[in-house]
Homo-oligomer: 396 residues x 2
Amino acid sequence: MGTIFKERTKVDDARRIFLDVIQPIGDTEKILVEACSGRVLASEIIAQRNVPHYRRAAMDGYAVRSSDTIGASPTNPVMLHVDDEITEGVGVRVHTGSPVPEGADAVIMIEDTRLIGDMLEIRAQVHPHKHVGCVGEDIHEGEKVLSKGHLLRPCDSAVIASLGIQSVLVYRKPVVAVIPTGEELLPRTTAGIPPSGMVLETNSLMVGLYVEKWGANARYCYIVLDKPKLIREAIQSNLDADMIVICGGTSVGERDHVPEVVDSLGKILIHGVGLSPGKPTALGIIGKVPVVCLPGYPVAGLVGLFAFARAALRKVGHVPDVPDTVVRLPLKSKISSRIGYMTYARVVIDNDVVHPLMTSGSGVLSSVAKSDGFVIVPENVEGYVEGQNVDVVLIE
Amino acid sequence: MGTIFKERTKVDDARRIFLDVIQPIGDTEKILVEACSGRVLASEIIAQRNVPHYRRAAMDGYAVRSSDTIGASPTNPVMLHVDDEITEGVGVRVHTGSPVPEGADAVIMIEDTRLIGDMLEIRAQVHPHKHVGCVGEDIHEGEKVLSKGHLLRPCDSAVIASLGIQSVLVYRKPVVAVIPTGEELLPRTTAGIPPSGMVLETNSLMVGLYVEKWGANARYCYIVLDKPKLIREAIQSNLDADMIVICGGTSVGERDHVPEVVDSLGKILIHGVGLSPGKPTALGIIGKVPVVCLPGYPVAGLVGLFAFARAALRKVGHVPDVPDTVVRLPLKSKISSRIGYMTYARVVIDNDVVHPLMTSGSGVLSSVAKSDGFVIVPENVEGYVEGQNVDVVLIE
């Protein structure tokens, strides 16, 4: 980068300062349970019925009065009649999940019985309630099954649907406006090789696909030239969004106006972080709308996105924090890092060995496609040596 | 379960035997790059252009002939003219990303210059190529950028789009037919509390949402009664799918016909695994269609789904194996496990401590909603003791 920032905030401090000003959205919506995967509950789920809602046989076998089985054993079996209703001395055939007929208080497993004609040999004693699922034993009416704020997984859908619930109240998906800036940019659908000095705009696509993966709806905005007035208009026309991500124009060069414009409309909280790549990242807020200003360099932008935008978006959308997927493997060769910077070193995993990519440029696009993950070197560590075991955060 | 299986295959063996017979699908489709996230490349991506496609300034500063800067230093600066074209003794203003004008072979950082009127003071010497990104330096024309079989991430979309590529060839999404069986089942939209002995069918919803999360399209089938003829017809009418998951009817009771029917149409490879819960899981193949028969008990079905269906689906759809998200934390109380069974113990994480859920039943629905993850106890381990650090696989 080379440019000089007035400040350089530590990544964790910057993230905390930013998250502190973010208000989660309040809007909710009702959705069908079949669409609930990945959404966040906006109200608790209370069971309106018991599970099971009837006395349920937990085994294949015979429903009996347990008192009829006292003393039964393989060497000293008890003989019962088989019938459809329970009275003294009668067993009723049940399957797993069947109702246990009135009068019976236990189920004897089929393995502990033998059918001889219409007589049933009972070869074990059963206690009252044995293999009988009581009403409400699993979930009782009025019980809280899932809490407000729970991130719904497919397995939760089964529990919810089992209670006869067809729809759930969830938080609305946040809308994230993604604004690419830079006069060197052309729409990525431009035919042919661009003129010298012009490049295809692709950062907004990357950001948009990530925020959608993280549970938001992306609003893709048109390219904005490096003019404060135009940047201001683009931001103002997106202040109805729940979050704004601006790509490019965040450094301190002649063409970098984004943080200044954000500050004029609201407040820039952070400009310049101890993040490598990603130092020119700026974080601000306009009214209630958090604004993440990412460097235009693709790798720096990606790192800024992971380091700040993801956590911010989770807070906006009430999404609980999920740990990264990490693998711990030995390094093929050393990783160097500057003290004072949290460094995201791009690495390839090959045969369970971590190979650092030999590129330092924050603009080197190919390094993104080649990387399996990042080794994140904290600010106070100078790097890692060959052979050392390191945590690789897989790039999702 | 209590029922007796002829065999009880180890989980890893069962998975290997099953995966060995699975053929990945061959069909491909062309999709727009904006829809590529989570899809798998069916052909490599070759760059048809250079990145950068012009000589690019890597810094804000002045493009110069490096020979003009020889000997320059803060105490002994060299003076150049500023102009729009390079000749001897001329510097041309460039921004990061600007084309480096013909005749210039280096860029001097703005920090190493001072503008005095229209004269430029050069306070450092630069070598040829300094801060100049050569044509194709990042990605060169003809280079393979991404391999066939690569799982596309949002960051890859930016790389692909930067090459002017609008669409990519990916494998078609597998279709997974999900067939619920059981005469105790009612459609989950049934109003009111079901009669005794009847329950709402929710396993297919859970399975469907998981397979969609794992990159497939789910085909939700209607409930099939426990009649071999009906099960056979349901399977036959779904043999155009890429995989079939059948819920229920996999045990060895009177009403369990599924494995037998699958075997009559194709081949059951595995019936009964050393998995707890999930022992009655059966795995088979009909023609080219892998068939996963899951126990009807929700928790057992969920575990069977994670242990077998996910890996199978990944193979069908060419999706590379992704490690689970795991956190390592101490146990609040012991977990017991039966030797010979791989046990999926449901746990809650509270204040960075792992609490085993005190439920043993494979049907206990509420335990699914309450669990954050599984502690997986291998076959040869009897369990874990209080205070021991364990890996918790988070339930996705």
